[in-house]
């Protein structure tokens, strides 16, 4: 690798880190190359060095943004990590339903929701159990730093590959409509979820408090300090008795004192009493 190329990778990964907190280890720099190729072709940028120079000058915020979004890993699927999701869809939601039986209000936040599959999976779970939730006010919020991912999430539009990942055929035909090669969420499903942009490194806006917060497969891309930062930023948004769900390979242990492992639900976390703080 030439010095110029090495410098270009550094500039690009620094831009990614500045906007999302994610770091790219040097041995994975090739991923940057692969991720940015289509964008370079679209903008007639001949090579990475030129792109890096444009990003460094930061004269076109749109390009910088598109560049960052292309480098971010957006991978997701419906009902991702099925056993964990089943725990959420069954026992965890049942527990919350009992806890909130007086207010009949349920609020769920899918933070770092990518293209929306996670938020829609929860909505599908609720719709499939409509009888149980009759009379409840239910809000599902999906947020992400990527405007491109959110645009797709809002439309609820998925390719044939995406729609088959994790979604059963019955749920697919019940909750989605076929449009050519794509599948689009039906109104009843789409109406259940609101999507809005939010960077988890910035203070949480006035989203209110949530009974369940999902923050899955995003901490794994951050360094320790940033993980702590994100978890502590989430804590004030947690409703008393609420539960935090992380990705299958993630934990709060060693990252923050604000949360502790739930005894009742494996893989879920709850506020440490007296530690919520703002």
């Amino acid at each position: 690798m030439s010095i110029g190329e090495a410098k270009a990778y550094r500039t690009l990964s620094a831009a990614l880190e500045r906007h999302t907190g994610q770091t790219v280890p040097t041995n994975r720099h090739w991923r940057i190359d692969m991720a940015l190729k289509p964008l370079m072709r679209r903008n007639s940028v001949p090579d990475l060095q030129t792109l890096a120079a444009l990003i460094e000058m930061d004269t076109d915020p749109k390009l910088t943004r598109a560049c960052v979004e292309a480098m971010v890993n957006n991978e997701t699927s419906f009902f991702r990590d099925q056993p964990n999701f089943a725990l959420l869809a069954g026992p965890v939601l049942d527990h919350i339903r009992e806890l909130r039986s007086d207010t009949k209000r349920l609020r769920i936040w899918s933070a770092a929701c990518s293209t929306g599959q996670e938020a829609y999976s929860i909505a599908i779970t609720i719709l499939e159990n409509a009888e149980k939730w009759r009379g409840w006010t239910i809000q599902i919020l999906g947020t992400d730093v990527s405007a491109t991912a959110l645009a797709q999430a809002r439309e609820g539009r998925y390719s044939q590959f995406e729609i088959q990942r994790g979604l059963s055929v019955t749920h697919m035909i019940r909750h989605f409509e076929q449009q050519g090669e794509e599948w689009v969420a039906k109104d009843a499903l789409r109406k259940m979820v609101t999507f809005t942009e939010h960077n988890m490194l910035t203070p949480v806006r006035h989203f209110g408090r949530f009974d369940v917060i999902l923050c899955r497969n995003v901490l794994m891309y951050l360094n320790d300090d940033k993980r702590t930062h994100v978890l502590e930023a989430i804590a004030p948004s947690m409703e008393e008795g609420g539960l935090l769900m992380l990705g299958a390979a993630e934990t709060v242990i060693g990252q923050t004192q604000k949360f502790r492992a739930s005894r009742a639900f494996r893989g879920f976390y709850e506020l440490t009493p007296g530690r919520q703080g703002a």
């Binding site: 699927s77 099925q82 044939q160 590959f161 990942r165 994790g166 059963s168 055929v169 035909i173 076929q178």
Partner: protein
């Protein structure tokens, strides 16, 4: 070890599917059409049947109808796996007793995800 019967008239598809399933520790047998598949299930019930739609001699739908009317116990989970990707076909397959549906082209993750949904892995 779980077992899977792959029913497809394309040798290439059978090979690709076999590879995917074997890496997931399935014991795999193959049939090139519905009739051959019926002969197989008369001998032994696999855990899963991966079933193509359009095949010569006997189609996937005709196989499924015949298989479900055999009332085999235990009964295999049937996953249609076909280029017939229209909602009409999908609905018809479900009505006829298919457990899952994969729209071709498929990849490893699609197959894995459908097997997981059916509790086969």
């Amino acid at each position: 070890m779980k077992s899977c019967l792959i029913v497809d008239d394309s040798k290439v598809i059978r090979k690709v599917a076999r590879h995917i399933l074997e890496t997931m520790q399935f014991e795999v047998t193959e049939a090139a059409d519905g009739k051959e598949a019926l002969d197989h299930v008369a001998q032994a019930t696999p855990d899963v049947i991966l079933l193509d739609w359009n095949m010569p001699i006997m189609s996937g739908m005709d196989f499924l109808r015949a298989y479900r009317s055999m009332n085999a116990v235990p009964s295999a989970k049937v996953i249609f796996c076909t280029t017939e990707n229209g909602i009409g076909h999908i609905q018809a397959a479900i009505d006829e007793g298919a457990d899952e549906y994969v729209m071709k082209p498929f990849d490893r993750e699609t197959i894995e995800s459908k097997l997981q949904i059916l509790g086969c892995i």
